[in-house]
């Protein structure tokens, strides 16, 4: 699988000096998975973080019984402590409740953004790579242009045209990532299409649609899926940036970027207002990136 993530590589030089075993020593898959995870506590933690975010998005009451919108004036600016683990804000609202309830909005925006990028970019790349000729040229020039416009500028232009709101921001972020998906998808389709086994399938008499569905797509989709996993982190950051700038959900709604933004006015006396929601965002992005890296080859190499 193509390496999409720049990071420390695990190398196995022994493979070049020793003949490969014939693979008759299959270990039980479950034991292998457990072994794999036990050696990677960071990965286990990451999966846990993502599970928590999902739970918070769908069942916020598992984590907090408080109303994210209801302020208690008597409890303004309480520092983090027993009753309020994340403290309270300027209206006496519980920050933890706001972060937990904000997960739904942020997760929704993230998933929309990734889905748009994956669907549109993947389709463009697949068509370009498989059809070739002038279609490929035209599509890839368009992709070059989208790459040349800095992603945030492109998102801002789309927000200008579409207007404000969580969904619109999500679409704008998604469109801005279309180009990289198209590139990876095309590169993978081209790589697989030139693979000897695809020619072998063609020589065996397989028709073009069978080649596309049975060989090209299944072998090309892996790196694109990894990119999607990686793009989750990027999208969380981009969506929160745009809502930090004030283009996301309208003010009382507790979107993560908005929370950080509204806390900045009280930096000097209530550090937790920005810091703790920000840590939540950072933890989520770190976790999804770690999982993406595991998908990108680490597991395959382990096998």
């Amino acid at each position: 699988m193509t390496q999409l993530i720049a990071g420390p590589l695990e190398r196995d030089p022994a493979a070049e000096h020793l003949s490969r075993p014939d693979g008759h020593a299959d270990r039980a898959p479950r034991a292998r998975l457990i072994r794999f995870l036990v050696r990677r506590p960071g990965l286990v933690l990451s999966v846990l973080v993502v599970v928590l975010v999902f739970l918070a998005a769908f069942w916020p009451h598992l984590f907090t019984g408080r109303d994210p919108l209801l302020g208690v004036p008597a409890e303004r600016f309480r520092a983090p402590g027993g009753a309020h683990p994340f403290g309270t804000d300027e209206l006496g609202r519980d920050v933890l409740a706001r972060v937990v309830h904000g997960a739904a909005l942020s997760l929704k925006a993230t998933l929309i953004a990734v889905a748009v990028a994956f669907a549109v970019g993947g389709a463009v790349g697949l068509v370009a790579g498989f059809v070739g000729r002038w279609v490929e040229d035209a599509l890839m020039r368009l992709v070059d242009v989208l790459l040349a416009i800095p992603a945030l500028f492109l998102s801002l232009a789309l927000v200008t045209a579409l207007g404000y709101g969580t969904v619109k921001v999500a679409v704008a972020v998604g469109i801005a990532s279309v180009a990289s998906f198209a590139r990876v998808m095309r590169a993978e389709v081209l790589r697989v299409r030139q693979a000897v086994y695809v020619e072998a399938a063609r020589l065996s008499g397989a028709r073009w649609y069978a080649v596309l569905l049975r060989h090209v797509l299944p072998n090309a989709i892996g790196p694109v899926a990894v990119l999607a996993a990686l793009d989750v982190g990027t999208a969380v950051l981009a969506v929160s940036s745009l809502s930090f700038l004030g283009y996301g959900a309208a003010p009382p709604a507790p979107e993560w970027g908005t929370l950080i933004s509204s806390g900045r006015n009280y930096l000097a006396n209530a550090w937790w207002l920005s810091t703790l929601p920000g840590l939540t965002v950072a933890a989520t992005v770190l976790a999804t990136n770690r999982i993406a890296r595991a998908l990108d080859g680490e597991w395959a190499r382990h096998r």
Partner: protein, 317 residues
């Protein structure tokens, strides 16, 4: 070599034209009436008199077929005229030119910091024989790209300005005011550079030509600098070209966090009041900056890698 330069130049012009077209498509064709938006000065103000709107439509040429509008605007843009800001009535090019200097200072400082930190970290992490130190250093870039930029800015302000009172938190004044914003903007960029350089350094160190050098009896420093780094610098250089666009766009967030004046601030204001000509101008400017920097990178490339120019001339055996 001249052919190479000419080809790159032609490509740059083509990308600029296409960037203009894309921004035109996005901003002028998507649903929503630009004139009422412009006249209203934002989304949340009272609608205007229909007669005024009709006059404005005519003035801006919105009553003409789309392709005529496009050609008209494209012709003007080619002469350097991107229209007038709706909010202030001043030429878009003037607004951008005025907002640019502080942003350029910010991005240049951030790029310098990012390259120094990123390259330094990657080189040292792959050089040190201490395994734990290498692992620790190599995990930093992954952290750097995961932090929201604006949050990093707020944390820095909290620590260095409010707690330690070392540096000013807000505003444009002088070099001291530049430190925190540049540092903030440099964090994700240096992380990206470090990631790419570390990966290509590790790959290069695994190449057979490094073994050849070892077999000559060359020491680790020589191998790292003369052999690995020279080959690994190429992908890292490409990344530096790519991140310049991100730095420019990142100024939007950072200038907003630190209340600095500049292109980013101007962009935020333009988006907020739906100042379409100005947003379009910023988008095309961003693409132009990206294209120019990458043109420069493309021209530096052959100096570092002798194979590049030859690629057009002969196919490898």
């Amino acid at each position: 070599m001249r052919r190479y330069v000419l080809r790159r130049l032609a490509q740059a012009v083509a990308v600029l034209w296409a960037a203009y077209t894309v921004s035109f498509l996005v901003l002028d064709l998507l649903p929503g009436d630009p004139v009422s938006a412009m006249a209203g000065g934002g989304l949340d103000q009272a609608p205007l008199d229909p007669a005024v709107l009709a006059r404005m439509r005519h003035e801006y040429g919105f009553d003409q077929p789309v392709w005529l509008q496009y050609l008209e605007y494209l012709g003007r843009a080619a002469r350097g005229d991107f229209g007038h800001s709706v909010a202030t009535g001043r030429p878009v090019t003037t607004v951008i030119a005025e907002a640019l200097p502080p942003t350029l200072a910010l991005t240049a400082a951030a790029l310098l910091l990012a390259v120094v930190f990123g390259a330094g970290l990657a080189s040292y992490a792959t050089y040190t024989p201490r395994r734990w130190l290498r692992q620790a250093l190599l995990s930093l870039p992954g952290l750097g790209v995961s932090l929201p930029t604006f949050w990093v800015g707020l944390i820095l302000v909290q620590l260095l300005s409010f707690r330690l009172r070392l540096l000013p938190a807000f505003g444009n004044d002088g070099l001291r005011g530049l430190v925190l914003p540049a540092l903030t903007l440099a964090v994700p960029t240096s992380a990206l550079i470090a990631q790419v350089l570390a990966k290509s350094l590790l790959t290069a160190l695994d190449e057979p030509y490094v073994e050849t050098a070892r077999a000559k009896g060359a020491g680790p420093a020589r191998i790292h600098l003369r052999h690995a780094l020279r080959n690994a610098a190429l992908p890292a250089l490409t990344v530096v070209g790519l991140v310049v666009g991100n730095l420019l766009a990142g100024s939007v967030v950072v200038e907003s966090v630190f209340s600095r004046n500049g292109l980013g601030r101007a962009t935020v204001n333009a988006v907020t009041v739906q100042d379409i000509p100005l947003v379009q101008g910023v988008v095309v400017f961003g693409a132009a900056a990206f294209v120019l920097v990458n043109l420069a990178v493309d021209l530096i490339y052959p100096l570092l890698d002798p194979r590049i120019v030859a690629a057009g001339r002969r196919s490898p055996a």
